[in-house]
Amino acid sequence: MAQILLIDDDDAVRNMLRLTLTHFGHTVTEAGDGRAALKLFDQARPDLVITDIVMPTMEGLEVLMELRKRPPPVKIIAMSGGSRKSAADYLDTARLMGAAKVLTKPFSTDVLLAAIDELLAPV
């Protein structure tokens, strides 16, 4: 099972995801904003980062930019429900910035688990 850093400013979503992930045996550290998340990342490097993109001041993308400066590359799943632009617009950028998987909110648990499995599967 994996060590996952979960970043989302929406408490309900973050709590739900944490419960889901822990239910399936993962270890989760969580943050409600980008700055706290980077601190946690630096303290204990996780196997996987799952981050929302559109947070106040869109820290999700900032996080991705920052993570690029911390090689080796970490596996990242970006999520978005859209905002002023469509979710795809944000997720396209997230991909550009290094997200390996993108998920459009809302997504089902199965989709999330499948994405995690794919990323963490031994190459």
């Binding site: 739900m16 419960l19 001041t57 993308l61 859209g82 617009d89 550009l96 909110k105 809302p106």
Partner: protein
Amino acid sequence: MSHLPVILVVDDVSANRETFHELLDEESYRLIDADSGPLALQLAAKTPPDLVLLDVMMPGMDGYEVCRRLRANARLAEVPVLMVTTLDDQASRITGIEAGADDFVSKPFNRVELRARVRTITRLDRYRRLAESQAALRESVTRFRELAENIQEAFWVADAKTSHKLYISPAYELIWGRTCRSIYEDPHSWSESIHPEDRERVLHSAANRALAGAYDQEFRIIRPDGAERWIADRAFPVRDSSGDVLRWVGLARDITERKSAELLQRESDQWLKAVFEQAAVGVAQTDVTTGRFVRVNQRFCDLVGYTREEILLLSFADITHSQDMAANLENVARLRDGSTREFTQEKRYVRKDGSIIWTNIAVSAIGPVGEEPVSFVAFAQDITERKQLDEHFLQAQKMEALGQFSGGVAHDFNNILAAIGGYAELSRMQLKGNPKVRDYLGAVSQAADRAADLVRQILTFSRQEPQARQLIKLQPIVLESLKMMRATIPATIEFDTDVAADAPTVLANGSQVLQILMNLGINAWHAMKDRTGRLTMRLDTCTVDAAYAATKPRLRAGDYVRLSVSDTGTGMDPVTLRRIFEPFFTTKAPGEGTGLGLSVVHGIMESHDGAVTVHSQLGEGTIFRLYFPVLPGETALLPVEAGPIPQGSGERVLVVDDEKLLAELHRKALAALGYDVESVTKPAEALALVRADPRRFALVLTDQTMPGMTGLDLASQLGEIRPGLPVILMTGYSLSLTPERIKAAGACQLLIKPTSIHALGIAVQAALHPQPTR
């Protein structure tokens, strides 16, 4: 015999009367006898005699009395009276003279003397009368002269046989500009003066006037000075005692002024008529009290689709759209009560075929100011097209507003749905032992899914949710949709397909196309519900020319793969037809449909750079046509990700994106690749920077979807400021534009999202250093 002098012989004694008869030659005179004074007066009154032989001594009324009475009668006062006396006495003669006697004869008569006296008296009297009548004639000639020579008309007398003028009054000289003498010297100058175009007609009428018994002509003359005058010439025959026409007398009047006024009037009438009939606006006159049409021009008939005969049976209220009626009646009431003289209103008429036409009408009250109007005149201009444009514009705004709204709520809404769905699933996992509650939670999950689907649909029609598109053939999708529909739609609906196998590939999202076909197919079925019908699907290629494109707001000229779905159902009226693509507009009962189906079709076709059109006729069915643009040649511009990421060497790049952080991220990404990058969030700022210093940037990287100005618009404006400036368009829905349009907008590269830093690096490098075309 009638011209013999008449002598009235008055004597009560018949022997005396006999004597007169004997003495006077009865071949020279006509004698009338009277045996009493009263009879004499009676006979004289009947036939005024030329002489009265009057006996003095008569019983009853004596000769003096008879004479006095004769003189008292105006008609007989001048009649000579020869009084017959017995005695040649002075007294009775004086009495006789006083009574008015002219002369006296005494009995017994001297035969010669009597005859001489009688002859003298009668002759003298005749001379006197002749003189009198000659004086009267002279007077009448003078009066005629005065009349003839002072009237403004030319009075003329002509010989009946030759038609030559025997007399013409001096007004001739004024009117004709010729001397009166000239017409006597040259009788033909009359006809020669007549305008050649009128001459034959006038002469013909003159030649036939004896038969017709009258002559009345209007014609033009040409004066010696070349001036033209209009003449009204009338004549009457003068006949002799046997009824033959001796002469014609006529009056020729100068009517030039009247004629030119007439001509002006006629011209003005014709002008008015032409204006009325050929006006570019409909003109209708209506009755004040009934509102009935009294007079309409052809344009008005065309506008409302009725014939003139039909419309004259209708009132304006009969063809006014019910929603415009109240305002119309209110305006008319103000006209009627005089509180205004005119009004304008935008209103709809219901045409004969039931369709609606929008007009702008200007209505005026006709009649004297301050009094009740006599009628109303309306000028109606067709503004249907403008109204439709307004509507399209409103529609576009509505769509955009809804798009912004849904984009705005999508973020929060999707988070909420994620939480609902996620917790429901979590709960299900925890509740292994309670199947009932697990079922409930399953229902929550399903509801959340449906809500998520609805949001996705809203985002689709508002183009907020781009979908990946690829080059595909539509044929298998059509067949797939038919298979699915056949499974759903009962056998009473016949299917008809016509799929062109050679229709080229298009850039499309297959599942969206399938969704469109299902939407249209189900709608077609609903339109044919409870009856038999035919659903036809056709796939072919077509070329839309500029003329047809101009009639469809969203269709551009070009080559298309066309997908048509038609039914033989109830069809739609024009009102429904105009609103069908509007989100949440539905003709179904509440709860039976979201009203999103066709707006989704519309949104999908827009995102495919295509268009959807609809034709429908009530009772005849509906046909939807989907136009997918045919892509010219090879369009794949995706760079191949291989080898190291190309690095920049300080080239200055401008990044444009309305989302600040996206702009910032692209700036950082490109900076990491070795470029010198600036970023702005407004296209206008980018334009200002380049305008200030056109050589400042080697490349512009811009997002396509930005409020106010698209990336393509920006590229084309940049191209005008600095031709050849490379611009990379980034767009989420791949080729939102054909390469031709992109090329037309300037030196453009297209970068299709999602992309990677690797792809970005390759694209930037390629744009900065284009390889010669292979």
